[in-house]
Amino acid sequence: MRAALKMLAGVYALAVYGFIFLPVAVLILYSFQATLFPIPPFTGPSLRWYEAVLGDRRLMAGLVNSVSVAVLSSAVAVVLGFLAAYGFARFRLPAQTALRALITAPLMVSYLVIGMGLLILFNATGVPKSLVSAGIAHAVINLPLSFAIIYSQIGDHHLYAERAARDLGARQWQVLVLVTAPMLWPALFASFFLAMTFSWDEFVMAFLLTRFETTLPVEIWNLLRSGLNPKTNAVGSLVFGVSIMAVLIIELVLVRTLRR
């Protein structure tokens, strides 16, 4: 009975793994297609579509734009989130529960709605569509995330080290930069990385808030308009490969330091 249940569970789990992997496997396989359409039969392997992607100026520009937007907006989100978390953890503020709720509120709202609001505000104030607008939107959604992660990690035990530093003559900014931030670095690193991945993959706000220069997801979207195309498979597979490598690096770095 128990063995039968285990068998059943195993078969079920394999089926779910199959479901999860099916589209990705198809995506990658047909990125090596030699002919014009990513549909059976498989005619590859060929690298022509990877060459096409690497030679596509718009896609490469989108890649660079995406990385810049992700790095800068995540940096803004983490710095603001860190300062706010420090303020709430070390001081007593009037209406602090409400203020904390305000900072985390964007987590509850659809990206589409936040993007629409910003588009309307920027339209009304004459701010043109640009990568900066998209970066601002990304920082809006990533600030609550960074704040929540860092706030949950600031403990009172860090207080003694901060006091000790002050007693030894450190100025307040030195305490923050040289004592508090290094003690919290796993939280800072985790929130920065998480913010990067959200920004890197975000579509709808970038779509609404940029015009000529835009991010990679929007460029991929433009590519989709031409229908099924192995080039889209190739760029998708490349993004997948890069993300997996990033995850592995993070995993190694974080696991190493946590074990120490």
Binding site: K6, G87, I103, A105, S110, L112, M116, A139, V204, P217
Partner: protein, 279 residues
């Protein structure tokens, strides 16, 4: 302790508060105001945009479609993910669990736009699935799978099974084994332990995951746009249509706020399970 007149804490929390006020609260107020103005003339305040939504069948239908699809996605994803997470947490040996979980969320790292597109490759008329089915003689000729509601739901479920597996797995791992032992000592069978002990204890985790699924799915434009192929409109598509075709920001704002209202109602419906725990 800092006194009331102390400005120091504001130097820390101020930037984040200002940022949120300028780029989150202010846009909301702007959107609220714009939703009360008339398209073209800008006159207002008027409730005409909201009136138009409730009077217009095709607009209301978009909301109904959104609710139906999102609820179906939420329920199916939970039902698929729970046994899977249970398998990972209970059957898989401890040392392989991390790997099993990482594999289960691997496609998470593909681009969001590309993930929907890759389902087109599977479900398309000459796609992998139709090709295999006709090849095996199960189907005489290809059936339409892409550009249907089924395709939209499949694409969504694929993403949210991964998300829910993560949250439910974490929940199952947090349970102390002593609950199970206590129930077993008191004579409960395996099934009884699951139904009366494990399931109620993991309900909060399920609800958090289900709420997250609901919020993310109902606001998503990409999946229905790519996989639905215009067979029916969902709310996010209707909103984007207002902006794209006519630049009708008043209507787009009103529809966005109506979508927000639905999410808020869902939040209050689940609120008793959604208490965010503090360390």
């Amino acid at each position: 302790m800092a006194s009331r007149a102390d400005w120091r804490p504001w130097a820390y929390v101020g930037p984040a508060l200002l940022w949120t006020a300028a780029f989150f609260v202010l846009p909301f107020l702007a959107m609220g105001w714009v939703s009360l103005t008339a398209y073209g003339t800008g006159e207002g305040p008027t409730l005409a945009n909201y009136g138009h939504f409730f009077a217009n069948d095709s607009y209301r239908q978009a909301m109904v479609n959104s609710l139906e699809v999102t609820l179906a996605v939420t329920v199916i994803s939970v039902l698929l993910a729970y046994p899977f997470a249970w398998f990972l947490a209970e059957i898989v040996p401890e040392r392989w669990q991390r790997l099993g979980l990482m594999l289960a969320i691997l496609p998470f790292w593909t681009s969001y736009v590309v993930r929907s597109y890759s389902w087109l490759l599977v479900l398309g008329e000459r796609g992998v699935l139709n090709n295999a089915m006709t090849g095996l003689g199960v189907l005489a000729e290809p059936v339409q799978l892409a550009n249907t509601r089924l395709a939209i739901i499949t694409g969504f479920v694929h993403f949210f099974v991964m998300l829910l597996t993560l949250t439910i797995f974490a929940n199952l791992k947090q349970l102390s084994p002593s609950y199970r032992r206590a129930a077993a000592d008191l004579g409960a069978s395996g099934l009884q332990i699951f139904v009366y002990v494990i399931l109620p204890l993991t309900l909060p985790g399920i609800m958090v995951g289900a709420f997250l699924t609901f919020v993310l799915a109902i606001g998503d434009y990409i999946t229905p746009q790519i996989l639905g192929g215009g067979s029916e409109l969902l709310m996010p598509q209707l909103i984007m249509l207002q902006v794209g075709r006519r630049g009708d920001f008043p209507m787009a704002s009103a529809l966005s706020l109506l979508l927000m209202a639905v999410v808020t109602i869902a939040y209050f419906a689940c609120a008793r399970w959604l208490k965010i725990e503090r360390a």
